[in-house]
Amino acid sequence: MKKSVFLLTLTTISAVMFLSSCAKKEGCMDQAALNFDPEAEVDMGCEYATDDDVAVTLHMHQNIGGGELVEESMYTINGVATNLNLVQFYVSAITLVDAAGNEITNDDVYLLVTPEEEAYSIGNFPAGDYTQIKFDIGIDSVTNHADPSKYDIGNPLGAQFPSMHWGWSFGYIFLRIDGEADADGNGVPDTDGQFEMHLGSDAYLATIEIDFPITIAEGNENIVHLDADWDTFFTGVDMANDNTTHVTDNAALSSLLYENIFNMFSAEE
């Protein structure tokens, strides 16, 4: 009898040990946490911003033709009348760099930036003086090829309408512009002139570095003001005749737009 109790105990202990070590991936299951892991099936605790850190807001001012960009409006781009119907892009890997070169990155903040929304919470950073802000336009290669259905709708990385994800090559659309251009030269954008500039895939991740003094302090508003200049983005583009790309179908246009992305962001003056 004693022996069977011993056996039972041994079996139970070994089974429990084995169970906890197997299959299910451990990690943080709270989407609001800094270390959220969409693959996690067993909650092993989450990390949240500490009290020493200060919430920082990013203001993205989007400009074109000397004014503010408003979606579903008409602009003259490179001499061609153009409706910009949808303009949105991902900003991620937001990093503040101090004078000594120390970098603080909020790896888990992904922003889907639209002209409608100017202010974005970019998480908490330690109070201090910084000399540079660095960020990616796009999504890092690991997250880029994760399953978007593991994120809730409403999360920037979840399903979007209009879609910001390609199924056919399985990755996010880093930057999406839909519009209509004046293809026949009568000064009015036509439905025949519909275009799509959709940039994505790992090779098109653009890391932007902007040098300017940023002070983060408790009690301040702590807003980082950036400008996105869309005239720069469209530089060199033949808006009437060569205006559509989904990367693989028009590599030349994609490369041109990608190079322009590096020049379009600046600190607000």
């Binding site: 009898m1 079996t11 084995f18 978007p148 259905s149 199924g167 056919w168």
Partner: protein, 345 residues
């Protein structure tokens, strides 16, 4: 003493169950309503993702979604519109029209034994059955819908809200939609053709002499068919340029994903199961008959720079060619195309 032994065996048994549940073996799933796939003789078990164990209720929901026209923007087409059971879950036209009659650029592939596929789409651009679900739903020339709008649409339907809550414990969402559809698709299994009965079930009388001769030709080192169309799945899932065309500018195949010139014109080797039902053939549906296929291979292909070196031509008599086609017809699984578990209710 007897009691002690009994306890000992109970312990072993309990340990066995718990240990097995850790293994990736999909046969042992500890959920009460676990569904065991009916895997044919000669087949290995397919890999089932840890986050999508099969249950009867999930498969039933997936089937309902598979035949659900509300997946398309104007509720005119379902998955079953292009993947018809009578054609082994492919279609009998070169390019099946999407919504508003829009034509894409690829032939609807068969879903036969899709549970064993290692990558999705002819160019391998999408990794899993779950993630592939977005492709037809959001492609302009297929369903032209959007996952967010589909979730809203299903949440407005009490029957779906009940079914999703029953299966996933939550309202319709992208996770449930993708998991349920993939679960149903994993049951699209064909392994009871006359070839299977002969080769895997030991029923030597089901193939006649001509068919057996055709089978020997198929597996012969001269024809090399089974170099790529190998094993119980009749594919090795590699990407090959089979030299059917000289120009791939309309669809570069694998190169569309890798952007490599050496991948131009390469497409995933398809299964040959139910091949007599899945024509027209090739990525663009431009080849109409099995005869034409054998002719192209026997002629040694187009000579495209990326053409597989296995394709070097061969000579068949008219009788041998007929026998080879007769053998390919033995891969048709009539039970599969009439299985009510897979058909639209």
């Amino acid at each position: 003493m007897k009691k002690q032994n009994t306890t000992y065996y109970i312990c072993l048994f309990v340990a066995g169950i718990i240990f097995s549940s850790c293994a990736k073996d999909p046969k042992i799933i500890v959920e009460p309503d676990a569904y065991v796939l009916n895997v044919p003789s000669g087949f290995a078990l397919p890999n089932i993702p840890d986050d999508n164990p099969l249950t009867a209720a999930k498969i039933a929901l997936g089937k309902k979604l598979f035949y659900e026209k509300a997946l398309s923007v104007d509720s005119t087409i379902s998955c079953g519109t292009c993947h018809k059971q009578e054609f082994a879950f492919s279609d009998n036209v070169a390019i099946t029209a999407g919504v508003e009659g829009r034509l894409g650029f690829r032939n609807a592939p068969t879903l036969t034994n899709i549970a064993w596929a290692t990558e999705m789409l002819m160019d391998g651009g999408n990794p899993t059955l779950e993630t592939q679900v977005y492709v037809p739903i959001e492609t302009h020339f297929e369903m032209d819908f959007n996952m967010v709008l589909l979730v809203n649409r299903l949440n407005a339907d009490a029957e779906y809200v009940d079914a999703f809550n029953n299966v996933f414990g939550s309202n319709p969402d992208p996770f449930g939609i993708t998991r349920a559809l993939a679960a149903f698709e994993r049951t699209i299994i064909s392994g009871n053709s006359r070839f299977d009965q002969y080769y895997y079930q030991g029923k030597t009388e089901v193939l006649n002499e001509q068919e057996i001769n055709g089978m020997q030709l198929f597996f012969s080192p001269t024809l090399k068919c089974a170099s790529c169309h190998t094993g119980y799945l009749f594919t090795d899932f590699t990407y090959q340029n089979n030299g059917f065309f000289a120009d791939y500018s309309a669809d570069s195949g694998r190169a569309r994903i890798t952007l490599l010139s050496e991948d131009v014109g390469k497409f995933k080797v398809p299964t040959l199961r139910n091949i007599a039902l899945t024509g027209p053939y090739m990525h663009n549906g431009q080849i109409n008959s099995l005869e034409e296929i054998i002719d192209s291979y026997s002629n040694g292909g187009s000579g495209h720079i990326n053409q597989s070196e296995l394709i070097q031509g061969f000579v068949l008599t008219a009788q041998e060619k007929e026998n080879l086609i007769l053998f390919l017809n033995t891969l048709t699984d009539n039970q599969f195309i009439h299985n009510p578990d897979l058909g639209e209710d």
